[in-house]
Symmetry: D2
C-alpha cells in the first residue's frame, strides 16, 4: 500500500496526466528501483557470479534511472513535459534492457530473483510508455 | 503490490532478520521516499510557501535518507549489522522530525499532503525501529 | 580534486570514449548534482521564495538526473551505448532548462547562487554533449 | 573544480559550521560516492569477481550513504544538528568499512582501483569527523 495516488490528488497543482496512470507509473518506478537493487545483490551472492556481471550492471543502471524517473514524476509544480519525456524514455529503455537480461537468466538458469526482476521491469516499462502516450508524445 | 518480500526469499544469502519484518521496512522506506518527494513539491506549490520552508527541507532530507536505508536493507550479501544500524538510526530520526513537522501542518492548516506524509513517516519510523529490535541492537 | 580520471584508467574494462572527455563529464555531473541541491536550498531560504518555485523544481529534477547520469557513466562493465545516450540526453535537457531559469534569476535579481548554478549547468550540458559526440551518436 | 564552497557562501542562511570545513566534507562525500560507484564496477569486471563480492557490496552502500550525506549537508535552511549528526555517523561508518576492505585488496592483490577508493573513503571519513567535531558533538 503506497501513498502515491492520494499524494497526486492532494497536490495544489493538477497532475499533468490522469491520476491513475501517473500513480501506477510512480509506484512501478519505485518498486523497480527496489527490485533491481535487490536483484543486483542476489546476483552478486550467486556462486560463481561471473556470468552475471552484465545483469548486475544493468540492474544498477535501471535502479538509478527508475529512481530518477520516480522522483521527477512525483513533482507537479512547474511540470515540464519535455523533461518528463526525456526521463521516461531513458527509464523505459533501461527497463527493457534489464528485463531482457533478467528474463534470459530466469529461463536458462531458473533464477527466481531474475524472474521477479524481469516482472518488475516489464511493469515499469509499460507504465512509462502509458504516461508517454497519455502526454500525447 | 511490491516485489520486496519475494526478492528477500529469492536471494541466495539468508536475510539478517525475519523476512516479513525486513520487507515491511524496505517497502516503508521506498514509500516514504516517494511521499516525502511529493510532499516537498506540494508544499512548494502552496501560496505562499514561505512558512513551509522547514517542511520542504525536512521532506528532502527524509526522502534521501529513506532511499539510502531502503537500498542498504535491500542487500543481503556480506551484511554488516553496524552499517544497517547506523543507517536505520539516521532514517528513523529523519522520519520522526519530518513526521512531527508534517503533523503540525496537517493539524493547524488542514493540509492533506502533510497528513499523508506524516502517516508515511510514522510507518517508516516504526518499521526501522522494528528491524533495529529484531537485530538485537 | 576528484578520483574520476584515475578510476577510469584503473578499470579492467576499457572506457567507451577517451578518458579525459569521460572524466570531465562524470565530474561535471556530480558537481552539478551538488550545486543544484544547494541552489534549491538557497532559493528556499530567500524571502519570499514564491517566485522561485519553478527554479527549485528544476534544481531538484536536475540534481536527480545529473546523479543518475554520473552513476551510469561511472560504470564501464557491459557498457550499453543506447542506455548512455538516453541518460545523457535527459541530463543535458535538464541542465539546459535549469541553466536558463537560473541565468534569468542571476540577471534579473542578481542572485549569486543562481549565477553559480547556471555555470555548473552550462558546464554539465556541454560535457554531456561532448560525450554524445565522442560516442558518434 | 567544484562549486561547493561558493554555494555555501551564496546561501542566504549562514552555514552551521565554518565554510571551509563544510565544503571539504561536501566535496569529499560526492567524490567518494563517485569513486565507490566506479570501484564497484571495476571489481565487477575483474576475473573472477567472486572474492570481491564483499567489496562490491560495501562500495554500493558507501556510495548511497555518501550521496545522502552530501545532499543533507548541502542544505542550510532549517538545519537540524541531530539529523546531520546521524547521517555523518552513518557515512563515516560506511567509509571506514569500505576503506578497510579496499585497502586489503590494494595491498594483497595490488588493485589500483581499490587503492584509489580507499583513499577517497579515508578522506571522506576524516571530513565527516571534522564536521562532527566542528558541530561540537
Amino acid at each position: 500500500m503506497t501513498h502515491a495516488r492520494r499524494m497526486i490528488e492532494a497536490n495544489p497543482t493538477p497532475a499533468p496526466v490522469d491520476a491513475a496512470t501517473l500513480a501506477e507509473c510512480i509506484e512501478a518506478c519505485f518498486d523497480c528501483a527496489q527490485t533491481c537493487t535487490a536483484c543486483a545483490d542476489a546476483c552478486l551472492g550467486e556462486q560463481p557470479p561471473n556470468h552475471l556481471s552484465r545483469c548486475i550492471r544493468l540492474d544498477l543502471d535501471c535502479a538509478d534511472l527508475c529512481e530518477a524517473a520516480g522522483r521527477v514524476l512525483s513533482r507537479q509544480t512547474a511540470f515540464e513535459p519535455e523533461m518528463a519525456r526525456a526521463v521516461l524514455l531513458a527509464c523505459a529503455w533501461s527497463c527493457r534492457a534489464c528485463g531482457d537480461e533478467c528474463e534470459r537468466h530466469a529461463r536458462d538458469m531458473d533464477m527466481e530473483h531474475c524472474r521477479l526482476c524481469a516482472e518488475a521491469c516489464r511493469r515499469c516499462e509499460a507504465a512509462c510508455n502509458n504516461v508517454l502516450s497519455a502526454m500525447g508524445s
